[in-house]
Amino acid sequence: MIQLKNIVKNYGQHEILRGVSLSVARGEVCVLLGPSGGGKSTLLRTINGLESFHSGEIQVDEIVLPAAGHSDREPALTRIRKRVGMVFQQFHLFPHRTVLQNVMEAPVHVLKQPKEQVRTLAKRLLDRVGLADKCDVYPGSLSGGQQQRVAIARTLAMKPEAILFDEPTSALDPRMTAEVTSVMSDLAKEGQTMIVVTHGLGFARAVGHQVHLLHAGQIAESGPPEMIFENPQTDVTKSFLSEIHQA
């Protein structure tokens, strides 16, 4: 469903991504692991255009997203963003809108769907993430875990074919992490395509279908979680896992 072909990105002399290729099937939970600075988040953000890339190509279904500077890029991005949602580490809820309004905002104003229909959907989604009683409060009064669940509901309201998660639990304490992880696991069970950047090995092991380990802008190793965790093939993976376990 999503293919990345030989993605390259530089910051001046510095190469952030050095030709990364990756493919995600429909219904797959794809986990990107790796040390900080390895390029995981950057790679994720290239998919919906929050980061540009200098060469290579991304394909989402039939939509082809070319490298920066290409005239076809903007129209492709507009279409991709309506199909691929994103959840951020820092939630980025709209503080001037209530929880319900946050969830309704995009379907009403981007997709121009009728308000009443969207309201019913939004309430159902908030109920699903366990926040039916918080519809009319402002995000500022919610805990981090609650905010992240609202953010997931906000993304789901667009009925995305795939969701990008950019370290969704890194700003949360363990209890709140569990709240969010459980919502994500439910989504995975329902067959939601997801690409998840995380440091949570537990989540990767329990929910992930494919794990890719990024190091220095390249994929060091790919495979199903049991293989990566039980039987790592490369030194990079081995040292990464041992560092994580020591920490």
Binding site: T78, R81, F94, P95, H96, E105, A106, G140, R154, M158
Partner: protein
């Protein structure tokens, strides 16, 4: 007819060249000058004369019993002039030093407000024969033993240079600079009565005032501690000014003044304001109905009974009662100006801020230049350009809209900077979140970024709104009479500086305080989103 002769072709070519020349010269052409001033006055049925009420008695000032009615010898002279043109006279308020600009702009037909004849003015404008011969009177404090004569001014007995107050740009200034040079220090004032008050109070060390004699005669009663020093000096002429291009109108004005001198109408008006004196008599123009010269007409006793009460200061509560509502009405103008200009300023400012932050270079660069240019030039200059220079390229705006445009323009530069800061304060993640949900940049700005920035800018924008209320006062340079100008007019014609000043301050407070309250409430309500 029907065929094109070679001459016709050449004519067309000539006309084309002339047109081309006209277009090239376009910015320098003066469109306000039609040269048919007299005809226009007759067609309109009114002679519009410009003066500044703030200058006060005996020229033009609000009547004591009815502040809506104008009094003053120039008011009556304007009636005489209009009558002899067969039209009615119509007063147009303008700031004194900007009256010639109003004339050029075409807002008024003549300037009639104690304008002295000077060679420069005579070159630039049509200057009528004088309707009054003024002299300058030196004034000092009665109890000041160091200033008893002009000699004391030349050689101060205590060796300290005297400080002399004068009306900026007046004949008195020219006289002092010419004859005393640097033997005295000159202090410039805007209002004639202010200069006298400064002497009386010895404010800022002011010792003396060189004043037009008719003004001193008129205000004498209001300043009991002042005294005239020496004989009047520096004779000169008050003349009416027309546009240079209106010689027929100038001729008609001259004829009217001359006949009013001849049949004694002008003498009676001047006598009414205690302005007739030997100097005027020496013109020797007045005849009786049979055409015989009447001789010296110095005896003004016959007029004493009906003589206009000269300056009496009206003080206390009664003046507030009588003139207060005029200030309230003028405050209405202040409110309308500010309330119209501020939303426009916010709108333009927001647009400029968006251009600077999100626009392509061809919007970003002009927007940056706009902000720097507008912020770097004074409001009064912007108003002046809008009102007086735009007509020269064929764009005429009336005073109210020029004032609104000037204020909106000026404040938009500040609002742009405030909004720029507000927009930049919104975390970048908000734009990313919106974009990841499929928002275009424009939609994200409209729905997500600008609403949040607006909450941030409420306090500084309110601050500017309150400042704008006070800055409307500057609009008096382009004839708009708002609260401050009305205060100056009324305070100077009554002397009730404190009483009317308190009322004016209260009115300004009544405008700005509710605004602070509303903004405070709004802020609290919007900030509540962050907590509840």
């Amino acid at each position: 007819m029907g065929t094109t002769s070679p001459d016709g072709t050449r004519n067309r070519l000539v006309r084309f060249c002339l047109l081309l020349g006209a277009i090239t010269l376009f910015p320098w052409c003066d469109f306000a000058t039609a040269g048919d001033g007299l005809e226009k006055v007759r067609k309109r049925g009114t002679l519009i004369w410009g003066a500044d009420q703030e200058g006060g008695g005996p020229f033009v000032y609000p009547a004591e019993d009815d502040p809506n009615r104008l009094e003053g010898f120039e008011v009556e002279l304007a009636q005489i002039l209009a009558e002899s043109l067969g039209v009615r006279s119509q007063f147009q308020q303008g700031q004194w030093d900007k009256l010639p600009d109003l004339l050029t702009r075409g807002d008024i037909d003549i300037v009639l407000n104690g304008y002295e004849w000077t060679p420069i003015r005579a070159e630039r404008y049509g200057a009528s024969i004088p309707y009054y011969i003024y002299e300058l009177q030196l004034l000092g404090r009665q109890n000041d033993s160091t200033l008893k004569s002009w000699d004391d001014l030349f050689n101060p007995p205590d060796g300290k240079k005297k400080r002399v107050a004068i009306l900026g740009g007046s004949a008195a200034q020219d006289y002092l600079e010419k004859f005393l040079g640097n033997r005295v220090e000159i202090a410039n004032f805007d209002g004639v009565s202010d200069a006298m008050r400064a002497v009386e109070l010895n404010a800022d060390g002011i010792d003396a005032n060189l004043q037009d004699l008719p003004i001193w005669t008129f205000y004498q009663g209001g300043f009991p501690q002042l005294t005239a020093i020496g004989d009047p000096v520096g004779r000169g002429f008050y003349v009416a000014l027309t546009r240079k291009e209106d010689p027929e109108l100038l001729q008609a004005i001259n004829t009217a003044i001359f006949s009013a001198l001849q049949d004694g109408r002008l003498r009676r008006v001047l006598a009414k304001y205690r302005m007739w004196n030997d100097t005027q008599s020496l013109r020797g123009l007045e005849t009786n109905p049979q055409g015989c010269f009447v001789g010296m007409t110095t005896n003004t006793n016959e007029n004493e009974a009906e003589a206009e009460q000269s300056y009496i200061s009206v003080r206390g509560f009664s003046v507030v009662q009588q003139r207060g509502w005029l200030l309230v009405k003028a405050a209405g103008m202040t409110v309308v100006l500010a309330a119209t200009a501020m939303p426009l300023a916010i709108l333009i400012g927001l647009m400029m801020a968006l251009f600077r932050l999100y626009g392509p270079w061809f919007l970003r660069i002009p927007a940056t230049m706009y902000v720097e240019l507008i912020r770097g030039t004074p409001l009064v200059l912007q108003l002046y350009v809008l009102f007086f220079l735009l007509p020269e390229i064929g764009i005429t705006v009336n005073a109210f809209w020029a004032a609104v445009a000037g204020l909106a323009l000026n404040y938009s530069a500040y609002e742009a900077e405030i909004y720029r800061a507000g927009l930049q304060a919104i975390p970048h993640g908000q734009m990313e979140a919106a974009q990841s949900l499929g928002f275009s940049q424009a939609l994200a700005l409209r729905r997500i970024i600008i609403p949040q920035a607006t909450r941030i800018v409420i306090p500084p924008v309110t601050n500017d709104f309150i400042a704008l209320f006070k800055d409307t006062a500057v609009c008096s340079v382009i004839t708009v009479v708002e609260l401050s100008k009305e205060y100056y007019i009324q305070a100077r014609s009554t002397g009730a500086i404190l009483e009317l000043g308190l009322l004016t301050a209260l009115l300004y407070l009544a405008m700005s305080y509710p605004l602070s309250l509303v903004a405070g409430r709004l802020e609290k309500r919007l900030m509540a989103e962050k907590r509840t």
